[in-house]
């Protein structure tokens, strides 16, 4: 069995649901299986990795784990440029090193992966 290229796509903001956490869990399992895993943040998903999130009483700051994805062998972290611009954000607002790419580049990227899971 060859390794697959697996992409996790984050489309929703943190805290209001568990999509970010549960997508990340799939990514980490993929990395543990030595798959080639990459992450793509678009639409409100870019807020998953926004810097400056503060913990609040009794609510889990799920997104801290994103800062450590490199430690799990996940180096390809992409962010959609238009999604950032529309939200008044730029790559320096992100808590991890990201590659900013446009819609066309995302289309190409999706083509290059064997499995793409959206959350």
């Amino acid at each position: 069995m060859n390794a697959q290229k697996l992409m996790l796509v984050f489309t929703s903001a943190p805290y209001s649901n568990s999509n970010g956490q549960e997508a990340l869990d799939v990514a980490l399992i993929g990395a543990a299986f030595e798959q080639d895993v990459s992450l793509l943040f678009l639409h409100d998903g870019v807020f998953q990795i926004k810097a400056g999130q503060q913990t609040s009483a009794g609510i889990k700051q799920t997104t801290k784990a994103f800062a450590a994805v490199n430690d799990f062998g996940i180096d390809d972290v992409y962010v959609h440029d238009l999604s950032l611009i529309a939200r008044g954000l730029n790559t320096e607002d992100m808590m991890v090193d990201v590659k900013e790419i446009d819609t066309k580049a995302i289309s190409s990227l999706l083509n290059q992966h064997d499995r793409v899971l959206t959350f």
Binding site: S16, N17, S18, G58, K60
Partner: protein, 129 residues
């Protein structure tokens, strides 16, 4: 004032359990009364006694149970919304011949009429979804 709370969102697909719980605590601190929290639609999932949240996750079920015990507020789960979704009290389990029940003892099952009656008696009604 007497506030009736309606909660309709799921545990991990919305933030509604947390938002409603924070609101209820703030209302009590301000001297108001939470007469009833009514769980409807996917909100019924907030009453299961089988959930095992991670240590750092918000434990909605037990937080509601504790809130109710401290402040005497009724936690009511809609019977039909619960039956559809598999959130079942002990009596229902017998009635339908189900293999068990899974509703936390701090909650009780009622029909939508109880929500309507509480709405009539309350000074304010507030929904979290």
């Amino acid at each position: 004032m007497n506030i009736n709370v309606l909660v309709t969102g799921g545990l991990y697909s919305t933030q509604c359990a947390y938002s409603a719980w924070r609101f209820c605590r703030a209302a009590i601190e301000a001297g108001h009364k939470i007469s009833q929290v009514f769980f409807y639609q996917d909100g019924v999932s907030q009453s299961t006694n089988l959930s095992v949240p991670l240590a750092d996750e918000f434990d909605a079920v037990n937080q509601w149970a504790e809130f109710s015990a401290q402040h005497g507020c009724e936690l009511v789960v809609c019977v039909s919304a619960g039956e559809r979704r598999g959130v079942i009290g002990a009596e229902q389990a017998g009635e339908f011949g189900l293999p068990g029940s899974n509703m936390h003892a701090a909650f009780r099952v009622e029909g939508l009429g109880v929500l309507q009656a509480a709405s009539l008696e309350a000074d304010r009604m507030v929904t979290f979804k």
